[in-house]
């Protein structure tokens, strides 16, 4: 099965709406893209179309959260995190249990180009006290994560994809907030991947295995608070450390892994991600090829760095 994590979110929040009357959903004129439309159709009295007013939407979400509601504020990742000061003071500094849903993450959105791509969003939100940051890698994980968010205390940022992602996890998958997931065995190298690049890293591990390189793929769905214990363990057990994210390497998952290892088990870390550049238009496939995010690109980076 293959599904966009935004679609998985839309389906799950519409389902959760039946169980939890406190859930409210807000959108800023992108409900057909963020897939909050499923909830809107089912619960029109608990869906609020805010118009193209993202900052105000985040403030309203904060007020709803502080009044006992469980608000999900949806827009593209770049437009949500572009309203940074409102997220910082209204939501984070009030420790409001708001859920910011940022879809259309990364260059994986394709043709719409840079202005619609969330490329620095993890980095921005990760630096805010009280905030948690999660990015699921498939439909199953997305639905489990969204179910978890209902009970979480404090503000959360959830990063979702426009493009379909192949199922990585089994139907019996047990989501654990803050815990990484080891998907393949291997001690030659470890790659900590998140979101869309988990799929690519798994394919890369198959390619590398044929060449005698055993790559351990670890899915980091919770980027903050990050699973320090698992990162240190893997770094100790594997010769080389890699990270992979469809996001800038500055302040994202790569940085988070480096921060953990620098203080606990200094290691050489190679970060796959955007190297301080913007994205561009193109098909998602062409973009992933150009920026080395597809399985071939990841495999090549790993092979090259391990032999250098």
């Amino acid at each position: 099965m293959s599904k966009a994590t935004r679609t998985a979110f839309g389906e799950e929040i519409a389902k959760l709406g039946e169980e939890y009357s406190e859930i409210v959903v807000l959108d800023a004129d992108l409900s057909k893209s963020t897939m909050s439309q499923y909830f809107a159709k089912k619960f029109p009295e608990r869906f609020f179309e805010m118009g193209i007013e993202e900052a105000h939407m985040i403030g309203v979400g904060t007020g709803l959260a502080l009044s006992g509601k469980i608000p999900y504020c949806c827009s593209f990742a770049c437009f949500i995190t572009g309203r940074y000061d409102t997220i910082r003071i209204s939501a984070a500094y009030s420790n409001a249990s708001i859920r910011l849903i940022g879809t259309h993450a990364g260059i994986g959105i394709g043709e719409d180009g840079t202005s619609q791509m969330g490329l620095e969003d993890i980095s921005l939100i990760r630096s805010l006290p009280n905030f948690s940051v999660c990015q699921p890698c498939d439909e199953i994980e997305t639905k489990a994560l969204i179910r978890y968010t209902v009970k979480h205390k404090g503000p959360m940022y959830i990063r979702l994809t426009r493009q379909n992602l192949r199922d990585v996890n089994p139907p019996t998958y047990n989501f654990q907030f803050g815990k990484g997931v080891e998907l393949t065995e291997g001690n030659d190298a470890v790659i900590f991947a998140t979101g869309a690049l988990v799929n690519e890293a798994l394919d890369a591990s198959n390619k590398l295995r044929e060449k005698g390189i055993n790559l351990r793929v670890v899915n980091i769905h919770t980027i903050k608070p990050i699973d320090e214990e698992l990162i240190i363990k893997c770094a100790k057990e594997c010769k080389t450390v890699f990270t992979a994210e469809d996001h800038t390497i500055i302040g994202g998952l790569g940085s988070a892994v480096c921060e953990v290892l620098a203080e606990n088990f200094p290691s050489k870390v190679f970060r796959i991600g955007l190297k301080d550049v913007f994205g561009e238009s193109g098909t998602p496939e062409a973009l992933y090829r150009k920026y080395g995010f597809d399985s071939e690109g990841i495999a090549k980076t790993i092979e090259t760095k391990m032999n250098s």
């Binding site: 403030g59 309203v60 979400g61 904060t62 007020g63 006992g68 500094y93």
Partner: protein
């Protein structure tokens, strides 16, 4: 924590005593009493700013009459009702006016007089700008201008969803109105027919860099808000009779939010601070404090 003794010694304490006997709201409708409380709180504001050696006297003194009316006549805040889910809410969007709000909180007993005098001190609940993390009675953190009205909108929306009849009050500044997010909220609240939302503009006509009209004029304010489909009322923000009429009108207005454009005087009550831009954000020194307190004491006598 609460130093009742200090209040009794230093202030006219009719309000506190009557609240304790549960007779306050039936007996104390006298506007002179509200005026007296406001002037006593002006003394507390000056003392706390003097102790802190920094802060914003101008906007605190311009807003205190309105805050006294809102908290004592509208919200009727007590320590007992301050955490009820059905309580009326107040958000100070112009967060730099915090000393005035803290003075009201101390008077009600939500914080101690010591807390008030520890304004801006390390680990105090009276942070330089309102911090919900330090003081939950604030309802939300504010201080980055333009944001509080959106939070208030969310709270008013929550009341509508739950079919509860609590009201949400939000004070904004005139300079703050230059922020884009304020206009997002102005456009938004009428859509949701939030007649339980009452915005109070503390229109004291100046901001840090000068007079509003020179920095970035916001006029014609009333016309703009009427065009945005708000119920717009214009009053003298130091006149309690006008406040009573406006807040009563707001409560009886259906299907749209109300904004009370309250014309105020920056630094009101202290002659050398009145309408002086430079008193936006500096604390009085020892000598200035003495003069200010003498002037305010005269108002009480």
């Amino acid at each position: 924590m609460h130093k009742d003794g200090v209040f009794l010694k230093n202030h006219f304490d009719c309000y506190l005593i009557l609240v304790k006997f549960g007779k306050f709201f039936s007996n104390m409708t006298d506007i002179q009493q509200l005026q007296r409380i406001a002037n006593e709180l002006r003394i507390d504001i000056i003392k706390s700013l003097h102790a802190a050696k920094s802060g914003h006297p101008g906007g605190s003194l311009s807003s205190i009459d309105l805050l006294v009316y809102i908290f004592f006549e509208e919200i009727k805040r007590t320590k007992e009702n301050a955490t009820l889910p059905t309580r009326d809410r107040f958000i100070l969007s112009k967060g730099h006016g915090a000393p005035a709000l803290y003075a009201v909180f101390a008077r009600i007993g939500l914080i101690s007089y010591d807390d008030l005098m520890n304004l801006r001190v390390l680990e105090s609940c009276t942070q330089g700008h309102p911090s919900y993390l330090h003081l939950p009675y604030l309802e939300a953190s504010t201080g980055s201008l333009g944001q509080g009205l959106s939070i208030a909108t969310g709270m008013a929306l929550a009341a509508k969803i739950d079919k509860l009849d609590y009201r949400v009050y939000c004070m904004i500044g005139d300079g703050e109105t230059q922020e884009g997010q304020i206009w997002e909220a102005f456009l938004s609240a009428p859509k949701f027919k939030l007649d339980n939302l009452c915005v109070i503009l503390d229109y004291n006509k100046s901001q840090i860099d000068g007079y509003i009209k020179d920095v970035l004029d916001i006029e014609p304010y009333v016309d703009k808000l009427k065009a945005f489909r708000w119920n717009v009322l214009e009053i003298d923000g130091h006149n309690f009779n006008e406040m009573e009429r406006a807040f009563t009108n707001a409560k009886s207005t259906k299907n749209k939010p109300t904004i009370i454009v309250a014309h105020t005087i920056k630094g009101k009550g202290v002659s050398f601070m009145e309408d002086k831009v430079e008193w936006h954000g500096k604390a009085p020194n020892d000598e200035e404090t003495e003069i200010a307190l003498q002037e305010l004491q005269k108002l009480l006598n």
